[in-house]
């Protein structure tokens, strides 16, 4: 099975009026590496990008050139309640940057629910926090990603030790939450809707998504 890759669109054609309201997974590609992940939304004739930049949470009219693929886990007719939740999360959430996720989520007000690690997350982690808050279930089977996925993150051989020392945190609380889910994996997940989505599906297909992005980037 290959994925219907042509459903990945560049955001500059998002203005296509025949597209109904949607929530999509968006990524920014720099060179041939997917560097950032966001939630892209269309409501009526307005387009939004909703993401954690590493500094703050932003909900803006779409302005960056995201590749995006619509996810069917949130149907078109539920966009108003999703957008309204995004607005309220934007107002209240205050994440910190860190490569951790273990099933945390934001509620409709942007209150964060975490067993151990507080609001440490990446841009992908932020998307996962938001989706879980709306769907009331995990979007990804995050346990499938183990600590080895974070090896070499931010060019650190031992990102975990670096991070714990840098922020003066309790390693016991954070060790189980260490994992890296990449923007490319996040984009690939948008082709699936059986929740939570397992890593095997994504591993099987992320390379074809990557090649596809390279191809359309050149042309």
């Amino acid at each position: 099975m290959t994925l219907p890759l042509d459903l990945i669109k560049k955001s500059d054609i998002l203005s296509d009026v025949h597209v109904q309201d949607f929530v999509a997974i968006g990524i920014l590609n720099e060179g041939d590496i997917a560097t950032h992940s966001a939630i892209i939304m269309k409501y009526n004739s307005q387009l939004f990008e909703f993401h954690y930049t590493g500094r703050d949470v932003r909900l803006d009219d779409l302005k960056s050139d995201f590749y995006h693929k619509i996810t069917t886990v949130i149907p078109s007719f539920e966009i108003p309640s999703f957008l309204k939740m995004a607005q309220n999360i934007q107002r209240n959430a205050s994440p910190n940057y860190g490569c951790f996720f273990s099933g945390e989520f934001y509620d409709q007000d942007g209150t964060h629910f975490s067993s151990n690690i507080g609001q440490y997350m990446t841009c992908v982690g932020f998307c996962l926090n938001v989706l879980k808050g709306f769907l009331h279930k995990d979007y990804l089977q995050h346990e499938d990603w183990d600590h080895s996925t974070a090896e070499g993150f931010m060019d650190k051989d031992d990102y975990f030790t670096f991070f714990i020392q840098e922020h003066n945190l309790d390693p016991n609380k954070f060790s189980k939450a260490l994992r890296r889910i990449t923007p490319l994996e996040m984009l690939t997940s948008s082709f699936f809707d059986d929740l939570p989505i397992g890593k095997t599906y994504i591993d099987k297909h992320k390379h074809e998504v990557k090649y596809y992005l390279q191809e359309i980037d050149i042309s």
């Binding site: 149907p75 007719f77 108003p80 309640s81 309204k84 939740m85 607005q87 409709q108």
Partner: protein
């Protein structure tokens, strides 16, 4: 928003073009020599296009043009309005429009455009693209149906008035309003007993009002609860504004805000939330209202006072979602 008065924007604008191409004999139409029936048809289309475009865009935001050669009627708007006219046409054909005034010109236009003896073309040019599947869409239905509206509307409101009678075999109580009108509220026996101590005193009640579309059928009131400060003010402000707003995003934000207000109450907040949620357990509620209420109450869905209503709303949400999913894939 719309800058139709300056010429540059006209170039960028959306054009809805309806062309009478051939007449009965198959001859190409010339605007300077139309048959009587061709002229009548074309003017009907032109007038319908005018009414429709103005109903959607307003006088200020639309210009019209008639082109000779073939007979062309053109409505010129900005892209956004152009799209909304196109959407309206499609919805009308699908029987999704319940506004008679809006539907009337579309019906007239439709009747002309699908005629066998005349050949019309209809296209929308917007954002540099030409969309020309309207003819097929028009031809898919021989008749446009008005979407039936429910014959009644149920809203919740707070009444603050003096009780002048309580009781009866089918129990009710009578309120005398500030303007001296009398309202009868239907209730249960136990409600009547709760209201009874307020006889000849002022009371604050949350009620549901059923108003009927049919004229001369009187509003029907039923009792929900006797309420006290500070809930009176919260609910009074909330429902009076909520009932008057039609914008969904505004309504959803109001739900967030009223929840915030209720959560600041020192006591009985779950009772109040139960009352609020119960007002949305009815048929004409948008799925986004239900979903938002479920999001807002997810944090305390196990509280005994709200468990039952939340699970009712959850069922309503799932049922509506399945129906809407089937509608979109059908």
């Amino acid at each position: 928003m719309h800058y139709l008065c300056d010429d540059k924007s006209l170039i960028m604008a959306s054009h809805l073009v309806i062309t009478l191409e051939t007449e009965r004999n198959g001859e190409a139409v010339q605007l300077h020599s139309l048959s009587a029936s061709g002229l009548l048809s074309f003017t009907t289309v032109l007038e319908s296009l005018r009414k429709l475009a103005i109903a959607i865009a307003g006088d200020e935001n639309v210009r019209f043009s008639i082109k000779s050669g073939s007979a062309q009627a053109i409505a010129i708007t900005d892209d956004e309005v152009g799209q909304s006219i196109a959407d309206t046409l499609e919805q009308a054909i699908e029987g999704e429009i319940s506004d008679e005034e809006l539907l009337d010109p579309i019906r007239k236009m439709h009747r002309e455009i699908i005629r066998d003896d005349l050949n019309y073309g209809i296209t929308l040019q917007r954002a540099g693209q030409t969309i020309n599947n309207f003819k097929t869409i028009f031809q898919s239905k021989s008749r446009i149906i008005l979407k039936p509206q429910p014959g009644f509307l149920v809203t919740s409101e707070v009444l603050r008035a003096k009780v002048i009678a309580v009781g009866g075999k089918s129990p009710n109580y009578h309120l005398i309003m500030e303007d001296e009108t009398e309202i009868i509220i239907n209730c249960s026996e136990s409600d009547a007993m709760e209201v009874n101590p307020f006889l000849y005193k002022r009371i604050n009640v949350l009620v549901q009002k059923t108003s009927y579309k049919r004229e001369n059928k009187k509003d029907f009131y039923s009792h929900v609860a006797v309420i006290q400060d500070p809930v009176i003010i919260i609910f009074d402000q909330f429902f009076s504004v909520y009932n008057s707003r039609t914008d969904l995003m505004v309504r959803l934000q109001m739900l967030y805000d009223v929840f915030d207000q209720i959560m600041t109450l020192n006591e009985r907040k779950f009772e109040v939330i139960n009352l609020l949620l119960s007002q949305f357990d009815k048929n004409d509620v948008d799925i986004n209202e239900v979903k938002t209420l479920l999001l807002l109450s997810n944090g305390f869905k196990d509280a005994t006072q709200v468990q039952a209503i939340i699970s009712k709303l959850e069922q309503r949400y799932q049922k509506t979602k399945i129906k809407l999913l089937n509608d979109t894939t059908a």
